[in-house]
Symmetry: C2
């Protein structure tokens, strides 16, 4: 089999695993849209709703089957309009989740991180509330994150990329390959601020090198696992590094870093020992830097579609 | 108003004009999926079906309202299974379209180009037939094309871009700004071959310079006008040019070329005198080359979604 066929099949498999959900499929199997202030900000699975529906002071269902949406509310699960402000909503949902966590009925809540994410329908909308990071899959809210492609050029001008190996004790995807730096966009930092913080913590990048950070695009996908529904959008940064730079992890999250040629990266990302969304970030880098051939690998137009699932477009109803 | 707010509003308007159609909206207003060999390859509007439905030996409707799809055929318009081969289908559809053209009932057919496009469900699938380029909007089949960003770096390393101005006599979008080179992917050429041909014809780029062509991604959108439905996917190439290079048009399609700074390009693409899909190609270039700021212009994640509408994913039923 041609090497590009092996690569292409591997990439299509990777992208299918990242895009496990469409809004249509999810609705068809009983997931309910989740609304705050009548704006869809998420999707709730039936297996989670079983527990959430007991909190009748916080959430209520506008039943599509009754076919008479109350007060112009759309069919789905709504946050009670008794909570009107950002703070009231954050507290009400937070208390409900703390209670569920104590009862230990939803395994995903064991991964509590004490890190809050902002929730809005589209990234630019004013946030409606904050929720604990470990709970975002419960509500299927869009999570935003940042990923940094750390790379250098060898003496022939060929790009080589720094790839991290996640710590064996990491809660998620232990011991797997990863981008040089990545992290969630938490409620209190700007995008570039967050990128710089992660670069310092994860790879000890100095301030003068950080001046070279370039925002080069976003990637989005909609995956699912036992912890819930994860529509995710990643802000992508490229960082060209000096040849003598070596990333050194400072927060215990990365076990080691290794420099790979882009051909080696191509092999790594289809070998299934790479954190899937990070492998997809490498794929996007390969395409953007002119390292895939549209004639030799004619699936590239499919890859690009699958790397850019229109999440905010879905939730905003288009 | 901040300059980025003006830019951002302009870009959102541009992207809305390019993404006028979703599959859901189109179905809701009576467009019918178009199937060849029971694979959806397009969408046909009711105003076109009015004429096409007279060709009962070529097309037939599996009515969704009858609720008993025949022979496991999906609801929608099907090419008659009497035409089994690529050649038979191409001839049958071609004869129907030539007849319609003679009757002059569909204005879009006045733009006959004597250039055939391959039709398949996904780019990688074996093509099912070819149809005349001017008719692709009638059937809403995905059209593929190529666009080339011709740019150079000034003495300070800043990127400047060559922008074409379309001839005043061009059939479509006369006198508007355009990319350095662009064209449809016709049935008989590979992607890179097609790019090189367009670069020679439209800008007289020499073979040695063409060696620098880099395939860097695709862009897709779904627009509509009086000529029909246009789901389009563009293969994007970057071409860095020597400082002393000046594009010279060789086929009469471009009236002039001008070199702009990227700030000037940012202004041009929201001023509505730019062919919309070409403006979007420039936007993609600005993002990919690190020239937009994710904090200053927080709509960028929406731009990226809208630049990558999942057309093949729609038609393949996901």
């Amino acid at each position: 089999m041609d090497s590009y066929v092996i690569f292409s099949n591997g990439i299509l498999k990777l992208l299918r695993s990242l895009n496990k959900v469409t809004l249509e499929d999810a609705l068809a199997r009983g997931c309910q849209p989740f609304f705050v202030d009548n704006k869809q900000v998420g999707l709730i699975r039936p297996d989670f709703w079983k527990y959430l529906k007991n909190y009748t002071d916080v959430l209520y269902l506008v039943d599509p089957d009754l076919n008479k949406p109350s007060n112009n509310k759309k069919a789905g699960i709504h946050l009670s309009p008794n909570f009107q402000t950002y703070e009231e909503r954050t507290t009400a949902v937070g208390n409900m989740l703390e209670d569920l966590r104590k009862k230990d009925v939803i395994p995903a809540l064991r991964g509590w991180r004490h890190e809050n994410y902002k929730v809005s329908q589209r990234y630019t909308d004013t946030a409606l509330l904050e929720i604990e990071r470990a709970c975002s899959g419960l509500f299927g809210v869009i999570q935003y994150g940042i990923h940094v492609n750390g790379y250098m050029r060898d003496k022939d001008g060929q790009i080589m990329m720094w790839i991290g190996r996640r710590s064996k004790t990491k809660q998620t995807f232990p011991d797997m390959y990863d981008n040089m730096c990545a992290g969630g966009l938490s409620a209190d930092l700007g995008v570039l601020e967050c990128v710089k913080k992660e670069c310092k913590e994860e790879a000890s990048v100095s301030d003068d090198i950080l001046d070279g950070l370039k925002f080069v695009g976003t990637m989005s996908y909609f995956y699912e696992d036992e912890r819930g529904l994860f529509p995710e959008c990643q802000f992508i940064y490229d960082l060209e590094l000096p040849n003598d730079f070596r990333p050194v992890n400072a927060d215990g999250e990365v076990a080691s870093f290794q420099l790979f040629t882009m051909n080696e990266v191509k092999n790594l990302i289809v070998e299934e020992n790479f954190k899937p969304n990070c492998a997809a970030i490498c794929l996007e880098f390969l395409i953007r830097h002119g390292l895939l051939d549209a004639d030799a690998d004619p699936n590239v137009s499919l890859y690009v579609e699958q790397l850019h699932t229109p999440l905010q477009t879905y939730y905003a109803g288009r």
